[in-house]
């Protein structure tokens, strides 16, 4: 893990308020797993202290040969709003790579993986798919969005495997939720990232096969020191009783921690 002022190589709005940010720097070499994240300090330059806290954003994909990584984020609040104003060539203060990502080795070589995402939970799944592909694993994607205007990376995912797009309002792909189509997919291991209600539904739906979920929590430090991001361990006899999303996660095996 390191702190680096990474260079912006590309920065583009790829769907409604969804930005794709390509950064260059040494940090890329330290990435070990898809699903890790970075903690970004967004500031008005100089020594401005608003916003104060860093923002956690997943690494969507990385290319160590070019020292680049790509983030995809929704611009909504103060920090992401300011981030979206960053121009090409400018520097971004990044702490990372952080946390533990998705275990690609959990899927047997030549096996089948199901990758399920919702909204801005989708970005880290793209890097995951690429890594699974690289191991010869066949991947099916089920990606849920609110509406057609929110859809991003459809072609990219299609290149990595069968891709089912779901929209809540039916304006793109099929109408409905990601859980509506799971029965139609054959897989050995499932990986998911998205809103808590989606993850809960998946925990109920996928009980026979391994499922890994990536969680979000409001964070302070991002490195395990402040206890802001804890979630309870499900096992009442667990030695610690809790997990820190920032460093024990953000990816957990379904059932390891309470989803909340």
């Amino acid at each position: 893990m390191m702190q680096e002022n990474m260079r912006v190589l590309a920065h583009e709005e790829i769907a409604d308020c969804i930005f794709e940010l390509k950064l260059e720097g040494e940090m890329v070499w330290a990435i070990t797993e898809p699903g890790q994240f970075v903690h970004i300090r967004v500031g008005g330059g100089s020594q401005s202290v608003a916003p104060l806290l860093r923002r956690p954003i997943s690494i969507s994909s990385a290319d160590p040969s070019k020292k680049t990584m790509t983030l995809i984020y929704r611009s909504g609040g103060l920090g992401t709003g300011l981030l979206s104003e960053t121009g090409i060539g400018e520097k971004v203060d990044v702490l990372g790579p952080l946390g533990h990502g998705f275990p690609v080795e959990a899927t047997p070589l030549q096996g089948k993986a199901l990758v399920i995402g919702g909204g801005v939970g989708i970005p880290p799944l793209y890097g995951l798919s690429q890594e699974l592909n690289a191991r010869g694993i066949q991947v099916t994607h089920v990606l849920g969005f609110r509406s057609a205007k929110d859809v991003f990376y459809q072609m990219a995912f299609e290149k990595a495997g069968r891709t089912i797009i779901m929209t809540e309002d039916g304006t793109d792909g099929r109408r409905g939720r990601v859980t509506d189509v799971l029965d139609s997919v054959d897989f050995d291991v499932a990986y998911a990232c998205g809103p808590i209600p989606m993850l809960k539904a998946l925990e109920h739906a996928i009980t026979e096969k391994p499922l890994f979920v990536s969680l979000e929590q409001r964070m302070g430090c991002g490195i395990g020191a402040c206890m802001a991001c804890v979630t309870r361990a499900t096992d009442a006899n667990d030695a610690k009783g809790y997990r820190r999303v920032c460093c024990d996660g953000p990816v957990f095996k379904a059932g390891e921690v309470e989803l909340c």
Binding site: L52, L53, G220, C226, A228
Partner: protein, 302 residues
């Protein structure tokens, strides 16, 4: 030029992480050598393990943050067993922060902690706003704070610093009361009680409803309180509240602090403590100051 000497604490520099923002040193110890720090203030220990509050536990505010961690910690015995050994190889002084809900809890926890050879001093957290039972009372009534201080002093083998709450009408009265009760030093300030409401849910954003406000937003309040208290007590003050850089450290010294602790800024920049330690000598040079101790209370000393 950075060395400072406080009761129980011979520090090669006056900069330490603040309690609760640095856990027990393991995480930041992965990023840099903890021996570069003046001291380490470890996270509050309570007699029994505590899980703390449900999440969300933090919320951002303009130039600040609210936290309601709720003193999550594995309990004093487990801390002694699992966390303190880390400081056996390190030479960095350790200040053990102590919290509780009842006086008896504080006293037992303090007694145990003070017996640990790696612990150089105790810091009595009488001011954590995030514990529901009793905790807050200790920090807002001078007589109660004094009684607690005296009881802990009676059992502690190490100097005792009392960490004051800023959520009081008369901070000077608090400082004087615990000094009279035997405190060896003061830590100030802890967090201001605050709240944020989530417009979407229309409810308080933190599950604990209120939280403690820290960060640059509270620095003017911290400076004011240290300025007032330092003129009215003769025990040293470890200053904290919104420190982000070497200039802020100097401002705290001028106000009356003899050492400083850095909390929230670690989250913004994990290397902030060693960075400040590195910058301080240049800043002092530029000011023509050869010993940082000269600056203590300079804003009010004649």
């Amino acid at each position: 030029m950075l060395e400072v000497h406080l009761p129980g604490l011979d520090l090669k520099n006056p900069v330490m992480p603040a309690s609760g923002c640095f856990a027990f040193g393991a995480e930041y110890g992965n990023l840099y050598d903890l021996n570069r720090l003046g001291a380490v203030t470890i996270k509050a220990a309570t007699l029994q393990p505590r899980y703390g509050n449900p999440t969300p536990r933090v919320a951002e505010t303009p130039s600040g943050m609210l936290n309601a961690i709720g003193l999550q910690n594995p309990g004093v015995d487990e801390i002694i067993r699992k966390e303190l050994p880390r400081f056996e190889e390190n030479k960095v002084p350790v200040i053990a922060n102590i919290a509780g809900s009842e006086m008896e809890d504080y006293v037992l926890t303090a007694e145990k902690m003070s017996q640990q050879s790696v612990v150089n001093a105790l810091e009595l957290n009488i001011s954590c706003p995030n514990v529901k039972h009793g905790g807050i009372m200790f920090g807002t009534v001078p007589e109660v704070a004094a009684e607690l201080t005296a009881k802990v002093k009676a059992v502690s083998e190490k100097p005792v610093y009392v960490k004051l709450s800023p959520n009081v009408t008369d901070i000077v009265a608090m400082g004087k009361a615990v000094e009279e009760a035997g405190a060896d030093g003061l830590s100030m300030i802890n967090t201001l009680l605050g709240m944020r409401i989530d417009l979407r849910t229309r409810k308080p954003l933190l599950s604990n409803l209120t939280g403690g406000l820290s960060g640059p937003a509270i620095k003017p309040v911290a400076i004011r309180m240290i300025y007032e208290v330092s003129q009215n007590v003769s025990i040293p003050i470890i200053g904290m509240g919104g420190i982000q850089n070497a200039d802020d450290v100097i401002e705290f010294f001028l106000a009356g602090a003899c050492a400083v602790a850095i909390g929230t800024a670690n989250f913004v920049d994990p290397f902030v403590c060693p960075k400040i330690i590195k910058e301080l000598p240049e800043k002092l040079d530029a000011m023509g100051v050869s010993d940082i101790n000269e600056l203590v209370g300079r804003s009010w000393k004649k």
